[in-house]
Symmetry: C2
Subunit: 156 residues, 2 copies
């Protein structure tokens, strides 16, 4: 077993998990008491940050370990849990690249983090262009369809 | 505490951590016995995969929680541990986007995974273009310099 502890928590408006409409959302990632603002120093020289977090509301009993239809939608092929990004996955880890807005003491403000209020954060990493794909990126048709409304702004 | 368990292990030629020359390296990510090939089914319709792993050789006593010079190089500014991607970090988690080569039963072959032989893997996620940065990516000069030899092939 590899014990991990939250280094921060998400403060956000959204209280419940939702599949879509994460566009333009704002969140504060507030460092845990074991850390000071020094741990974030210099991060605002980057435009983007990668957040590793836990899907803390997922009941471990609902974790999928083999294959299923993404979002349980039978229109899409059943694929392995490691061929989709759904939250009911082994270790319940999420990973999202967000836009850095600003640093404010122990708080890192980001745009478009798809995590709800109270989410534990396990790591914060700057996005270096050299760590992004260096060859053309391809995906199956179902994945493109699934993401169509993901980054749309929430409807009024 | 958030207990996580390896879902796979890395099989690779490199036995010791090294800062640079990860270009063109190949690795097999072999699922743990709790999983079957079904968990990877369909992943080969994607070109890239994100691997979350543990820096298992890092002594927890050497974890940095505040600021330091990246690679301990005084030519670069001291920045917070969350403003760099060095391995001596809280929770010792790594995250790298690799190129998918092929599936072979319980084995996922990837190119350019910067992890040594025996590394525990905690998650495997397909790379969807919609999860990559959607606005221009910027980094400070030190980060660009630091990465210059990272993806070069290993010298003969």
């Amino acid at each position: 077993m590899w014990p991990i502890e939250p280094v921060a928590y998400v403060e956000a408006a959204r209280q419940q998990a939702r599949d879509d409409f994460w566009g333009q959302t704002l969140a504060c990632i507030r460092l845990s008491e074991a850390y000071t603002a020094e741990a974030l120093q210099g991060l605002d020289a980057f435009s983007h940050v990668e957040i590793l977090f836990g899907f803390h509301r997922v009941d471990p009993a609902h974790i999928v370990t083999a294959a299923r239809h993404p979002r349980n939608n039978p229109d899409w092929p059943a694929v392995g849990i490691f061929a989709q990004r759904g939250k009911n996955r082994p270790n319940r880890l999420g990973s999202t690249i967000c836009q850095i807005q600003r640093l404010e003491g122990p708080c890192l403000w980001v745009a478009e983090l798809d995590a709800i209020d109270g989410t534990p954060v396990f790591d914060i990493k700057p996005v270096l262009p050299a760590f992004l794909p260096r060859t053309p990126v391809q995906q199956p048709a179902w994945a493109e369809t699934l993401m169509q409304a993901y980054w749309l702004p929430e409807e009024a």
